[in-house]
């Protein structure tokens, strides 16, 4: 079976690293990291992810703006994006990702189990 391709965009580099190690360890995922959303579209076009995990609060460009960029490009607009954020709680999002303002959200700190549930739910 082909590995699912996951793009993680989070300015906190170590978070991306850890998520990569844990997901790839399962043997079912290939993960790539970005620490800035500035070149998200280009990276997504090149990597062709099945699923994008996107941090909300980042210094140079914030998650919602990156989201809009992805949705405006025809090559990336159909890739499912889930926000990963520290400033929402499970209460709003539900345990395996919920919706705020029409967007799926996962709240930190995130366990691998929750993350996989969420990927399965939203990826094609």
């Amino acid at each position: 079976m082909l590995k699912k391709r996951i793009l993680v965009i989070d300015d906190e580099e170590v978070i991306g690293q850890m998520v990569k190690m844990n997901l790839e360890d399962t043997g079912e995922y290939a993960v790539e990291n970005l620490t800035s959303g500035l070149n998200a579209v280009g990276a997504a076009v090149a990597f062709k992810p099945d699923f994008i995990l996107l941090d909300v609060v980042m210094p140079d460009i914030d998650g919602p703006a990156v989201y809009n960029n992805l949705k405006e490009n025809k090559d990336t607009k159909d890739i499912p994006v889930v926000f990963l954020t520290a400033i929402a709680t499970d209460q709003d999002t539900g345990a395996s990702g919920g919706i705020i303002g029409g967007r799926p959200i996962l709240s930190k700190p995130i366990t691998t189990r929750k993350l996989i549930e969420c990927i399965k739910k939203y990826s094609k």
Binding site: E12, M18, I100, K108, P109, I110, T111, T112
Partner: protein, 535 residues
């Protein structure tokens, strides 16, 4: 000098000599006895000029006269009296009741000066005659008074529900009856016999807890004093015409004492006329003063409330501003830790210790996370998802969620959901969060066999829908009362409390334009949280 004057002088000289000698003799032989007294009219109390009086004082003075004692009365509060007796600052303490506990420290007389017992008085309108009538009535008593405590035990033992309010002293109890604040007043029968007449107040058939008023001395000391008292009192009691019965009549006003000389009667009538005039004048004044006081108190309370609201609002702002920043700074490292642990768990061969360490780390992360979560919930200005809801159904859902926990803790849950409450537009998840938080707090305050009431009601006149959570638990200490809603205020630190529960609750309630109040129960046990929404 005339011979008569000479003789007069000699006589006077001799008289003086005799008096002097007698005095010397008396001073030599009178035994000083220090006696502790306190305020318990009509047994013992002090008059306007601080002179001791009452049944015990009269009787003791009589005994002192006979036994050649010189009594010095030492006035104090009840605890002071007990302390003085223990430390030997006084020799005797009058008007004390025997308990096993006390008998370890003190010796008691065997004869009682008089017996007291608890009696209930009731307003005429209340129609209370016996213990069977007191259900749902308001009972006034003196906080910590033994008869009041016994009465409460009694109602509890009979499983009779009534409301309790407390006064500072017995006069306060009768005042509450007169002012219609209470239906029933619990006092000692001696006090009642002297002061409980008239004013639309009647004695009921409810009597309980007889107690002998004794005299006590420090353990093993002053035995001869106690023996003398026993001897003299029992002698006096045997003789129906003795001083003893005159004293009782005097203080408890028996028929004989009420015989008036006719001139005294007419004198009294005219005095009464004057008195009535004064009373009506002072009543008018008093009501005026009372009204002004009420107005002022209300204004003051309002001011205070506004002030508190402002302080609370300021705090919320600070916390709200901090919350998301803190959350961001803390949750990212938490994510790293939890992800790191998950990775290591797979890579390091699991021995028992390693597993425990990982478990601990995960727990710690969970704890830190819950703090932040509470903070966020608290500061959340998220939009409410309003739907039309039935309050009772909402409460039922919360109960269903909590049922298991209640059963586990062996807490009885009582539902008092008033049927037919109109629907209300709320964010149902948030209101459920409120109810569950309040139930959790109630549960945590309760000990085994406690009971918690979840009550809903509709106040038609005010158009208010009210949810109450009442517990029979520990209650709230005065220091804690005005901190309850402060973020991070908790008395359960180290036991899983973040102290954010009520701040979040208040925030949610206020987002619904509602109000929340938490106070101790009137009955003195447990607390009640009252949430009010406009229908």
């Amino acid at each position: 000098m005339s011979p008569e004057r000479n003789i007069m002088k000699k006589i006077l000289f001799f008289l003086a000599l005799i008096l002097f000698a007698a005095n010397l003799y008396a001073a030599d032989t009178l035994i000083p006895v220090k006696v502790g007294i306190y305020e318990d009219a009509p047994l013992v109390f002090t008059g306007p000029d601080k002179n001791p009086q009452g049944i015990c004082v009269d009787l003791l003075d009589k005994i002192a006269q006979k036994e050649g004692w010189k009594i010095e009365y030492l006035y104090g509060s009840w605890p002071e009296c007990l302390e003085r007796l223990k430390s030997g600052q006084i020799d005797l303490l009058v008007d004390i009741i025997y308990t096993d506990e006390r008998s370890k420290l003190y010796d008691f007389t065997k004869e009682s000066f008089i017996s007291d017992w608890g009696e209930a008085y009731a307003t005429r309108e209340s129609g209370v005659r016996s213990i069977l009538d007191i259900k749902d009535k308001i009972v006034a008593g003196v906080s910590n008074d033994m008869f009041y405590l016994e009465f409460r035990k009694l109602t509890k033992a009979f499983n009779i529900k009534c409301k309790f309010i407390e006064a500072g002293d017995y006069p306060g109890v009768f005042r509450m009856l007169e002012e219609g604040k209470a239906d029933i007043g619990v006092v000692g029968r001696l006090y009642g016999a002297r002061y409980g007449q008239g004013h639309g107040i009647e004695r009921t058939a409810i009597v309980f807890s007889p107690q002998d008023s004794l005299v006590a001395a420090q353990k093993g000391k002053n035995q001869e004093l106690l023996e003398a008292i026993d001897r003299d009192i029992s002698l006096m009691k045997e003789d129906k015409n003795s001083y003893y019965y005159r004293v009782i009549d005097k203080w408890l006003g028996n028929a004989k004492a009420r015989r008036f000389l006719s001139f005294l009667f007419w004198f009294s009538v005219s005095a009464l006329g004057l008195l009535l005039l004064f009373i009506s004048l002072s009543v008018i004044l008093k009501t005026q003063v009372a009204r002004r006081t009420r107005d002022l108190t209300a204004a003051y309370a309002k001011l205070k409330e506004t002030q508190e609201q402002l302080i609370q609002a300021a705090k919320m702002q600070v916390v709200g501003g901090l919350a998301s920043g803190v959350a961001h700074e803390v949750k990212n490292p938490l994510t790293i830790i939890i992800q790191g642990v998950e990775y290591l768990e797979r890579k390091i061969p699991p021995d028992a210790n390693i597993r425990m360490v990982f478990g601990n780390i995960k727990n710690a992360v969970g704890r830190a996370d819950s703090i932040i979560r509470g903070l966020l919930d608290f500061s959340r200005v998220s939009k409410l998802e309003m739907t039309h809801e039935d309050v009772n159904l909402l409460c039922e859902r919360c109960l269903a969620l909590m049922k298991h926990q209640f059963d586990k803790e062996r807490i009885r849950l009582v539902k008092e959901l008033q049927p037919g409450i109109p629907g209300i537009t709320v964010d149902k998840n948030k209101i459920e969060q409120v109810v569950i938080n309040l139930l959790m707090n109630a549960l945590q305050a309760s000990s085994e066999e406690g009971r918690i009431i979840l009550r809903t009601r509709f106040e038609e006149e005010e158009g208010e829908i009210i949810i109450e959570v009442e517990d029979s638990g520990s209650g709230i200490s005065p220091e804690a009362l005005n901190k309850l809603f402060d973020p991070f205020f908790t008395t359960k630190r180290g036991k899983g409390g973040t102290g954010l529960g009520l701040s979040v609750v208040k925030n949610i309630v206020e987002m619904h334009n509602g109000k929340i109040q938490i106070r101790n129960n009137d009955s003195g046990k447990g607390a009640v949280a009252i949430v009010t929404f406009k229908a």
